[in-house]
């Protein structure tokens, strides 16, 4: 069974995302695009995941995988996907405990909105999410694995916050079978410069901060037919597919 995906989407909780990245809008746009699965991955927080999962149930939208985009102490962005809300909340607690207590400056970074399933604003995150936590990539990978999740180096083809750019390579002992790229063109280009990357499988996500940037139904994961098209079974199958070999 083919599952069209976009596993890297920011909600309005990310200060750099647009305000209309609300649960219902994200779900409605993903459905319109024909996606089978999406992941909500705000910077250093999973606080809006529950609302998006609920909105998707309300609107018969795609499968929603809860996650975070973690910024490690090396200032590398890592796509963290977890099997359920409970695990996502646990991972958020780990990251939060390792985050400096610096407050957000909405005038500089943007607001960090907490939303419910009906797109109502329920609060604002006051701690700045656009900063690194004090845990390194390997420590984070271990924590995520213990929760049954996956940690995938994000947008490795880019200059900013990319493991490839920051460390100069993907360390052989970093436990991932997958790397996230911006597009197949970017991946080809990257592979030309770093032939060792051929050992990894490419994941293409939008990293959408605006509704219009959510991916078209273009990239898909091959899941076992037993995964079904909704809910926990599909989430489980996707996380299984993305596990390090």
């Amino acid at each position: 069974m083919k599952c069209f995906y976009d596993l890297h989407i920011h909600s309005a909780l990310s200060p750099c995302a647009e305000k209309d990245m609300t649960p219902q809008n994200i779900v409605a746009m993903a459905r319109l695009k024909g996606l089978g699965a999406i992941a909500v991955t705000d910077h250093q927080s999973s606080a809006n995941c529950a609302a998006v999962m609920e909105a998707s149930r309300d609107l018969a939208g795609p499968v929603v995988i809860p996650g975070l985009e973690i910024e490690s102490s090396e200032e590398i962005h890592l796509l963290c996907l977890l099997p359920g809300l409970h695990e996502a909340q646990q991972m958020q607690r780990v990251v939060r405990a390792a985050l400096p207590t610096r407050l957000n400056r909405p005038d500089i970074f943007g607001t960090q909105l907490l939303l419910d399933r009906h797109d109502r604003i329920t609060g604002e995150e006051t701690c700045l999410l656009l900063q690194a936590c004090s845990l390194d990539c390997q420590t984070l990978a271990l924590q995520v694995r213990n929760l049954g999740g996956v940690l995938i180096p994000a947008h490795v083809d880019r200059d900013a916050y990319s493991m490839l750019q920051t460390l100069g390579a993907i360390p052989a002992d970093f436990p991932t079978a997958w790397l996230e790229f911006t597009s197949p063109d970017a991946a080809r280009d990257c592979l030309g410069r770093h032939p060792a990357l051929a050992a990894y499988r490419p994941l293409y996500n939008s990293d959408a901060h605006r509704l219009g940037d959510i991916a078209e139904a273009r990239f898909c994961l091959d899941l076992p037919d037993s995964a079904g098209f909704g809910g926990a079974g599909c989430r489980h199958a996707i996380l299984q597919a993305l596990q390090p070999c």
Binding site: C16, S73, E75, P100, R102, R105, I108, F109, L130, Q131, A132, D159, A160, Y161
Partner: protein, 113 residues
């Protein structure tokens, strides 16, 4: 030292508007880790870095540093530069390495504890 002297001192050029004559430079900080810059750079500092993402502008504004100096001839995307102009963050580009640029500034600025 004033900001408008900086292009001459660092053999560089301003990518944003020429800064006001009165803008003072009181210190410098060299680092490519945004978390360290957020924690340690301050108003009046020249920040030497090879980073050029949109968040560089935000961190420069947050810390109030006098100028972002992109070393090693690093360029800035037009959209990021536009953001810098909007937020009145001064950006200068120099072909010098961070070490060379810091060396020149060290002769002109007091060392900070």
């Amino acid at each position: 030292m004033t900001l408008p002297e900086l292009d001459r001192i660092l053999s560089g050029q301003f990518l944003t508007d020429e800064p006001p004559v009165s803008a003072a430079v009181t210190g410098a900080y060299a680092c490519d880790m945004l978390s360290h810059v957020m924690a340690h750079a301050g108003p009046g500092d020249v920040w030497l870095t090879i980073l050029n993402s949109i968040n560089v502008v935000a961190v420069a504004e947050l810390t109030g540093c006098a100028c972002v100096v992109l070393t090693e001839g690093v360029a800035m995307e037009p959209a990021v530069l536009e953001r810098a102009r909007e937020r009145q963050v001064t950006v200068l580009s120099t072909p010098l390495t961070t070490f060379q640029a810091a060396g020149r500034l060290a002769q002109l600025l007091p060392e900070r504890g």
